[in-house]
């Protein structure tokens, strides 16, 4: 057991080191683009980590977490638009808005279970999507540009490397936080709710409260991801709220491993790299295969997701675990 | 006449754990055979393996002269194996009448009569009053009667009852036993699993005892009554 743990820690540390050193390599190779790309991977990974709290730990299959990415992104955009660029204020307001919305949405959604829960979370996300798209003063369909990144005291977030490290730090804290949570009393209660909610109530747990809290925490992590995402692109897009965003987050969590600490991040890295590679497919394959892949990469991503759904039960994280046990 | 059912060397596993080890059973035409054993010894699994509801790892099952091992359950059911499953398995969203009709099969079973809706209602007059009720609205006893009636409607060569008296009030339990006695007298072959051993000692021709997935004892009722050490070792009686 302890051996397994130490190996996992080792892998975690190695990954962290790789991420931490990446901007140096990128600078050397004169490819700052990949810093931006990796920043995006980290941010989407953060959202997946957030979703995993609801999906993997508490067993709530939310198909609407894009909503909270949207809340984060739009709060930043709207406040920036009125000329205030203070990051603390942005984040504070975003988190409050996220808490209020997720509390209400969660209360309604948690009245249902199973497929109805999946659908109603989707419906709420759609509802916000249409509201955003319909509101001209907030850019509507066009989205909103940010004049600049949020200002964060003396730290200059306009610098891509600095911003990258901010995201890396946030993700690291999120990973550690989820790890602590999974071992705690709260963690064992939400796991119990996932396994057998009726029994939990009969034991004396107010299950709704715990599930609601898990939902809110999960939403708030996504709000932070939305905040970062808007800052990365200096743009807040209604497409963050689209249902395909929620779908992709689920893909990442399942691909990486539900209810594992590092799984969602792994899943995000995998899926986004695959998309990047396919969409810019460079290998010179014969018979126009290359250009076919380049222009129809969605076909392959679709197939990839189908195969994940068919074959993957425990996710990539479990591969690593199994590999470790064999070793 | 030969046997309705002959099963040999049946092995079954759930994932990594093996549940049945070379189990065997024979049922002659018109015979009433019981399958006994403590909880979790593999009785239900055995029956499911015979029915094709659970795939078997090895072994052979001859039913009405045909090798049926490996065939899907609906094929075996159509050959004439009827089951009253553990937990009754009434279709909750069908009415009593529909429960009987939906899976009925019109053919000559091992009994002299061909079962119809009317003859089932004659056997269980209590059901007739509830023709339009949904399966889920029946009391436990009524559900049990319905499950037996539904199995009879397939006009089986062999009727298997898995814990048919579980959770029933004593009065109803008694009714079921007398019904089984009647079916036996009319020539139906029966395989019965039940924890009430006393009534079975009177009815069954032969008994099999399962212990940890193996048949550890077989014999007729008088042999069983005469061996208290077997009864106490495997059945705690």
């Amino acid at each position: 057991m302890s051996k397994l743990n130490s190996r996992r820690n080792w892998i975690g540390l190695a990954t962290f080191a790789l991420f931490a050193l990446f901007p140096l390599f990128a600078d050397l190779a004169n490819q700052e683009y990949y810093v931006t790309f990796l920043t995006r991977v980290l941010i989407i990974g953060l959202a997946a980590i957030g979703l995993n709290i609801a999906l993997g730990y508490a067993g709530m299959v939310s198909f609407g977490h894009s909503l909270y990415i949207g809340v984060g992104a739009y709060t930043v955009a709207i406040i920036s638009d009125s000329g205030i660029s203070n990051a603390a204020l942005h984040l504070g307001v975003a988190l409050c808005a996220g808490a209020a919305i997720s509390l209400v949405v969660g209360l309604v959604c948690l009245r249902t279970t199973g497929v109805a829960f999946i659908m109603i979370t989707l419906a709420f996300a759609q509802m916000f999507y249409y509201v955003v798209v319909g509101l001209k003063q907030y850019g509507g369909d066009d989205g909103m540009s940010l004049p600049s990144r949020s200002t964060f005291g003396a730290i200059n977030l306009e610098n891509n490397n600095v911003f990258y490290y901010l995201c890396l730090t946030t993700v690291t804290f999120a990973v550690l936080g989820v790890y602590r949570m999974s071992m705690s009393r709260f963690g064992s209660v939400i796991r119990g709710c996932k396994l057998n909610e009726r029994r939990m109530a009969a034991l004396g747990f107010a299950t709704l409260r715990y599930k609601l809290l898990a939902y809110v925490i999960s939403a708030e992590v996504c709000v932070v991801a939305g905040f970062l995402l808007a800052n990365l692109a200096k743009f807040s897009s209604p497409s963050y709220l689209q249902w395909s965003m929620s779908g992709e987050l689920i893909v990442m969590v399942v691909l990486g491993g539900m209810g594992t600490v590092l799984g969602p991040l792994l899943g995000a890295i995998c899926l986004l790299f695959l998309e990047e590679v396919l969409a810019n497919f460079g290998l010179p394959l014969p018979f126009g295969v290359s250009s076919f892949i380049q222009s129809h990469w969605m076909l392959l991503i679709g197939l990839f997701i189908v195969i994940i759904g068919l074959r993957v039960q425990h996710g990539l994280a479990s591969f690593i675990n199994r590999g470790k046990q064999d070793a | 006449m030969g046997n309705v059912l002959t099963a040999k060397n049946i092995s079954v596993r759930y994932g990594a754990s093996q549940v049945l080890f070379d189990a065997e059973i024979e049922i002659g035409r018109g015979e009433f055979v019981s399958l006994l054993g403590r909880n979790g010894m593999g009785k239900t699994t055995f029956v499911k393996a015979l029915m094709g509801m659970k795939s078997i790892e090895s072994g052979s099952v001859f039913f009405c002269g045909q090798q049926v091992a490996g065939k899907p359950d609906y094929v075996i059911a159509r050959l004439g194996m009827g089951i009253v499953p553990e937990g009754r398995g009434i279709f909750p969203n069908l009415s009593v009448n529909e429960n009987l009709v939906a899976t009925a099969m019109q053919r000559k079973g091992s009994m002299s009569t061909i079962w119809t809706v009317d003859s089932v209602y004659e056997l269980f007059p209590g059901l007739r009053k509830r023709i339009q009720n949904l399966g889920s609205d029946l009391s436990g006893g009524e559900q049990q009667m319905l499950a037996i009636g539904r199995a009879l409607m397939t006009n089986p060569q062999l009727l298997i009852l898995d814990e048919a008296t579980e959770g029933l009030a004593p009065l109803i339990r008694h009714e079921i036993w007398s019904c089984l006695a009647r079916l036996k007298n009319e020539g139906l072959s029966l395989l019965v699993i039940d924890k009430n051993i006393k009534p079975m000692l009177g009815l069954a021709n032969r008994h099999y005892i399962l212990e940890k997935g193996r048949v550890v004892w077989k014999g007729n009722s008088s042999e069983l009554s005469d061996s208290p050490e077997i009864m106490s070792k495997y059945l705690s009686l």
């Binding site: 999906l55 109805a116 709420f124 509802m127 076909l299 189908v306 | 609906y74 279709f91 069908l94």
Partner: protein, 304 residues
């Protein structure tokens, strides 16, 4: 007043189209416990098959045959290759697999038929409009209503009063037992999935002449369909029917009268700003309200 009635008819027509889609979806969910996000893709493929057949033959009957038959065939293939392996899996995995299928089919349609929308011909006999309550009404839309009512009645009769229908219901609640009682449940499920796909194809055929046949045309309507079945009660044909009507009417009437109401109460610019936004989330609001009060939907199925 007659205008209101015509709008009601519009709502019913939207409901009718939604019902064609919901029926298949809810049937597959109710019987196989399988949640199929790719239902919208089957709808799209049905529309494409029909449009291609129409282009080749200039006959709407041929288009209909192609849409329904093609949908059913595609249903069988998809069931064999993918869906059959997913019945026992969690809803989450089903959502995932079918989400992937949505992406796949959208791209496939683009490869096969191009990114542009293609022409879907309408039947000559139903190309005009008829006078109803003093307002002209497209006769094609009446055809949709009639067809959908016929499907609803047929389905009701099939499910309630035929022996096959009983078996379908029996397999819905206890497929293991049904199989042990001699029902070939695997075949039944395959046929049923194909049937659901054929209904989706039919919906695609009927939608072709009024909407554009293009990649991704399935998603907006899929989401509406999901709203319908969840509001109506998942797995119930009755729920799908009434849910479709409620959603269809709420959407249509909301679209017309909410902006009007707002305009009467607020000044024009405000009304124009929030009117459409409110109208477009009407159905989601309705659904949220229904579920908050009745988590099982309006007409939940009865299970033991």
């Amino acid at each position: 007043m007659s205008l209101v009635l015509t709008q009601l008819l519009n709502g019913i027509q939207l409901g009718a189209l939604l019902f064609l889609l919901s029926a298949g979806l809810t049937l597959v969910f109710g019987i196989m416990n399988f949640i199929n996000l790719a239902h919208g893709s089957l709808f799209m493929m049905g529309a494409y098959f029909a449009a291609s057949a129409f282009a080749a033959t200039e006959s709407f009957s041929a288009a209909m045959l192609a849409g329904i038959g093609g949908g059913a065939l595609l249903g069988v293939i998809v069931e064999r290759l993918i869906v059959a392996h997913m019945y026992e899996r969690s809803h989450l995995h089903q959502v995932l697999v079918t989400f992937g299928m949505v992406l796949f089919f959208n791209e496939l349609a683009r490869i096969l038929w191009g990114a542009t929308s293609i022409h879907a011909g309408s039947p000559k006999a139903f190309s005009g409009s008829v006078e109803i309550l003093g307002n002209p009404y497209p006769s094609y839309r009446l055809l949709i209503i009639a067809l959908s009512l016929a499907v609803a009645a047929g389905l009701y009769f099939f499910i309630r009063h035929t022996r096959l229908g009983m078996l379908v219901r029996a397999s819905a609640s206890r497929s293991d037992i049904a199989s042990a009682m001699g029902v070939n449940v695997v075949l039944l499920k395959r046929c049923l999935f194909a049937f659901g796909a054929a209904l989706a194809g039919l919906a695609g055929v009927m939608a072709g002449p009024i909407t554009s046949v293009q990649p991704g045309m399935g998603e907006p309507i899929l989401i509406m369909t999901l709203v319908v079945i969840v509001t109506g009660g998942i797995g119930s044909i009755r729920g799908a029917f009434f849910g479709a009507m409620v959603i269809g009417i709420a959407d249509t009437v909301g679209r017309v009268y909410i902006p009007m109401l707002l305009r009467a109460t607020f000044e024009r610019s405000v009304a124009q700003a929030i009117g459409p936004a409110l109208a477009s989330i009407m159905i989601y609001l309705l659904m949220a309200c229904v579920l908050a009060l009745r988590p099982q939907g309006l007409f939940p199925v009865k299970h033991g």
